[in-house]
Symmetry: C2
Subunit: 226 residues, 2 copies
Amino acid sequence: MVSNGTAKAKRALPLRARRDEDKEARRRLILQEALGLYTATSYAEVKMADVAERSRLAKGTVFLYFPTKEALFLALLEALLFAWFEKLEGLLSSGAGRWTGERVARTVAESLEGQEPLTRLLALLQTVLEQNVTPAQARGFKERLLEALGRTGALLEERLAFLGPGEGGRFLLHLHALVTGLRQMADVAPVTREVLELPHMAPLRVDFTRELTEALTTLLRGLEAR
Amino acid sequence: MVSNGTAKAKRALPLRARRDEDKEARRRLILQEALGLYTATSYAEVKMADVAERSRLAKGTVFLYFPTKEALFLALLEALLFAWFEKLEGLLSSGAGRWTGERVARTVAESLEGQEPLTRLLALLQTVLEQNVTPAQARGFKERLLEALGRTGALLEERLAFLGPGEGGRFLLHLHALVTGLRQMADVAPVTREVLELPHMAPLRVDFTRELTEALTTLLRGLEAR
DNA sequence: TCTGTCAATGACCCTCGGTCATTTTCGCGC
DNA sequence: GCGCGAAAATGACCGAGGGTCATTGACAGA
């Protein structure tokens, strides 16, 4: 399957490459259309037929690129998530030496600005995992996630003296719960949203960045105090 | 529909009452069997046919008591949730006067001890709301929820001088996000669970009560400092 | 015993995720 | 430009599971 070095394969390569490019482009197209649907409505409401239609493809074709609905969602989440990991890594890599917990907290919160689609999908992750995601799919996702957690976590450990080996990843998992919770409070669940906008209750406007910074600072202070 | 005061209705009452009792008992039976299934597996894996079978009823019968799968879940959540509200209200009502934020935090955390089924269902709530819950169902749930939020929230406002009108309910919504987040970290999502138990990462044992107390104390301190 | 009411039943329907035999596209050699 | 073979695309079809409804059964009251 993978291109090897024979003369035959080499001659065929340009065309193969062109085809692969097309495939990759179509894959991205599907992901993009799916993202539009997922951010507009709920997970259950997004039908694979809709994704296909918006991508101007037949339903069966979508399944050539993504084996299941869950796989499509996970691929989408992975793309956004890993782009964010890169962004965070970039921020953490500028400069050197130890940082205060508060600075790390601010940096992380900053990295999440303008990442609404990502945080929205993160809030949906639980929903997807509650479906019948096959272990194989979850395993693949998990492995790639762990790699990123390890890489980004190591950067965190460099910046914070009190973090032991592997604890950077642990911190990022806390972060996941925090972001999901904040997003949930802010605008995800229909009932919650209605509740939040109730007239006789002071509106619960969530300043995402500020609240996240505070929560992370507290968390890091706690870890440091151990 | 509601029993009125005519002679005819009064004569019929004993039998009517008996029947209603039977109905109520059967309703509780279904809820109980459903709870067993929901806590054992994920939301999607619980089939209405299974609930019926475990309740020794035909599938159609279950739908006489709960119009949809979502309604069954919400009814179950409501039952557990409102029992917890009552417990919390009892704890908040003992004694009088102002309390410190920390004491309130401890009390709330204490009220949640032994409420695994509830916290588990709360973590599933997002999943259910992502299904096609009809607005009517969500509205009914919302109204009853708001009533409880107002009642319990008012008790909180009595205990904490710095809480304005309606902010007790706001605090309880924060609580929801915190509990869900903690539960999520502790053991809900399959992938997360696997990740948490990874050998090369320090195990993330969550002391539910302690962490919740701390988080709530921080939150209340922040509200007081405004 | 007859009758009217209401609960219970399970065969049936519909939607939607997922499959696969068939058709279409396209690079290539002649 | 014309077949040829392989890969991609298609959409009719399948099965699972939530939800429905005409029929059956149980039972209180006359």
